[in-house]
Amino acid sequence: MNWKMSLVVRTVTNFLIVPIIVFGIYLVIHGHLTPGGGFQGGAVIASSTALLIIAYGSLGKHKKDLSSMEALGLTMFILIALFGIGSTMFYNYLAGTGGIFGGVVPEGANAGFINTGGTVPLMNIFVGLEVAAALSLILWMMSKETKVLETEKSSPSAEGQEVRD
């Protein structure tokens, strides 16, 4: 079932994956300073998966890992929101204190400091993880269904059940 492209394409892909993923992580981490954030960075990371699928033809045996990554990202998102239940849910309990992302934000236009923001960058990271995993899963399942040039058909019902968003 392998549908690999030529050696040139595969080598360039190996090379290009790293800048794409680094750019995606940059977008995710700086979500509270510049336009970007969880969804946008996750979509960029998922485009590296698209490149891998086109170049190599399949992603190997990592389907369950991607599914667990997605579930883990979402669970941590809800748990972080629930920990603020001291005052209300989704309350930003890390902002301004000296904790992980706590730092005081200067007023007005400034150059942007990463160590501020409170729970917002944490949630960005988990949402980025989840979106990257979910979009990669969608791309992979769709690419398995629509392969035209194979000789034997992929089994009809077992593969086609991944229809949630």
């Binding site: 629930l82 309350y91 949630r164």
Partner: protein
């Protein structure tokens, strides 16, 4: 660390299904029994929080919950201006109670109903997401948050309808449902844009204070009424309901009924709370009444000619939605006038009481239809027959559901329909007569269905000893118990559950 659970209960009602939905794939990697246990545990915890919130609403009063704010209650227009609010009042309490009862009955039922399917962890996740979406739709106090939960509910409902992907018809029904729901959501977004561009706020309460009856407001109201009638399944926007209800798995259909009714709840909130007396309520009331009459009549006449069990029940669901629209439409038409005290309030209470009655007995009927299909594998009425010899419990539940839907005393359908008949007659006698004729036709249709499924000699092709497995019977028992409970004490239900909902809609 003192956490006031009661104040936080609206958020916890929403957070618990979401958390358990996302935990299910992680637990499924470890063990399968854990996933099933997590399913029931999540629903029972959610039922606990719903009970706490309902008790607080009925004894103390209503309150709002601000997400991410410093204090729990909004301290004026500035602090809650930009934040997302959840409102806990009579409407949200009643809708959450309806959803919880249906979801628990359907979950116990689906323990054996879906046992042979693969991919069950996705079923559990989607079920939790649908429950969270419908809860969000009725609990929210913000228009854009409503759009988000509307889309969550429609996406997860469509995925659940198509769950049996080895049948082509289920996927086709889900595709049609999804396309129409998405286009409805886009029109919804346009009308939110109209309201936001004019007033700059999206909160129900602030918008209700600021709204005037300009032309753009009327266009936005028209779009909102059409989209929400599409979600609830009123004629002439009902085309998605028969396909979706008949092709979904049995337990999912019982919760889909409540999901469609969430559209009705939101419609009432929009028309009463948001617009109130800013527009001419007589005209809008008559439009809602006409939608109700059309739904009742066309629903039951199309149900008389159907040949498949679940499609027939789906058309009856459309017809019963007409009763709810009729009752509330009459209340809307006399809003602010002195006749409201005479009969308008009774009409509204009848319409709203019919919502929870309908969820109970319609859910029960769909579960029995699912049990018949599970046991025999046949969907058409012509091929069924003589099942009363072996499926005695299912026949008993079907009789309870059929008598309740036809409005036979002393069941709960009769109680709410009597309130509607009494008050609508004083508004306009013709409407009440049409409602009674529709009720008689409903009874005729269900007598025909009962006879052709359960009566008759034993059919040797499909005869099989014994009834359906015990978890399915347990799920049906829960819903039947609530039907009988509401039949025995309708007055207590109306004064404790329905009246706070009607008052919360702004009807004094």
């Amino acid at each position: 660390m003192n956490i006031d659970i009661v104040q936080h209960s609206p958020a916890l009602i929403l957070a618990v299904p979401l958390l358990f939905a996302f935990l299910t794939p992680l637990v499924d990697r470890i063990s399968e029994k854990g996933r099933d246990a997590l399913f029931f545990l999540g629903l029972i915890i959610m039922a606990f929080f719903v009970a706490i919130m309902a008790y607080e609403v009925y004894t103390v009063g209503e309150w709002s919950y601000v997400f991410g704010g410093g204090t729990v209650t909004p301290t004026g227009a500035d602090s809650s201006f930009f934040r997302i609010l959840f409102v806990a009042d009579g409407v949200s309490a009643m809708a959450s109670i309806t959803l919880t009862i249906s979801a628990i009955g359907a979950a116990i039922y689906s323990y054996t109903f879906m046992k042979d399917e693969t991919g069950l962890n996705k079923f559990n996740t989607l079920f939790f997401l649908m429950v969270a979406g419908v809860n969000g739709m009725v609990l929210t106090g913000d228009l854009f948050n409503l759009f988000v939960w509307f889309e969550v509910a429609s996406v997860s409902s469509a995925a659940l309808i198509a769950f049996k992907t080895y049948e082509g018809k289920a996927v086709e029904a889900a595709l049609k449902y999804m396309i129409i729901s998405v286009i409805g959501g886009l029109f919804f977004l346009l009308s939110i844009g109209f309201l936001y561009g004019q007033y700059g706020v999206l909160n129900y309460q602030l918008l209700a204070e600021n709204i005037t009856g300009t032309n753009l407001d009327k266009i936005a109201l028209t779009i909102l009424v059409v989209v929400l009638a599409l979600k609830a399944g009123a004629v002439p926007l009902h085309f998605i309901i028969p396909d979706a209800y008949s092709m979904a798995p049995g337990s999912v259909t019982a919760v889909l009924v409540v999901a469609s009714q969430a559209g009705l709840w939101v419609l009432f909130r929009v028309v009463f709370t948001l617009y109130g007396v800013a527009v001419n309520t007589l005209t809008i009331g008559w439009i809602v009444i006409v939608l109700g009459i059309l739904s009742m009549f066309i629903g039951v006449t199309m149900a008389l000619v159907q040949k498949t069990v679940k499609r027939l029940m789906a058309y009856h669901a459309i017809s019963q939605t007409g009763y709810m629209l009729l009752g509330v439409g009459v209340g809307l038409a006399v809003l602010g006038k002195p006749e409201m005290g005479l009969y308008g309030r009774t009409a509204m209470e009848g319409g709203v009481f019919h919502i929870i009655n309908h969820a109970m007995y319609k859910g029960l009927l769909f579960l029995t239809a699912g049990a018949i299909i599970f046991k025999t594998g046949i969907r058409k009425l012509d091929d069924l027959g003589g099942l009363g010899h072996s499926m005695k419990w299912t026949m008993g539940f079907f009789i309870i559901g059929a008598l309740a839907i036809a409005g036979i005393p002393p069941f709960n359908g009769f109680a709410s329909k009597l309130m509607i008949y009494k008050s609508v007659y004083r508004f306009n006698p013709l409407l009440s007569i049409i409602a009674m004729v529709v009720s008689i036709l409903t009874l005729a249709s269900f007598v025909k269905v009962f006879h052709s499924i359960f009566m008759g000699p034993k059919d040797e092709d499909i005869y099989d000893t014994g009834d359906v497995p015990k978890p399915m019977l347990a799920g049906m028992t829960i819903l039947a118990a609530f039907v009988i409970l509401f039949s025995l004490f309708p007055g207590a239900v109306v004064s404790n559950i329905v009246e706070p909902a009607v008052e919360a809609l702004g009807v004094i």
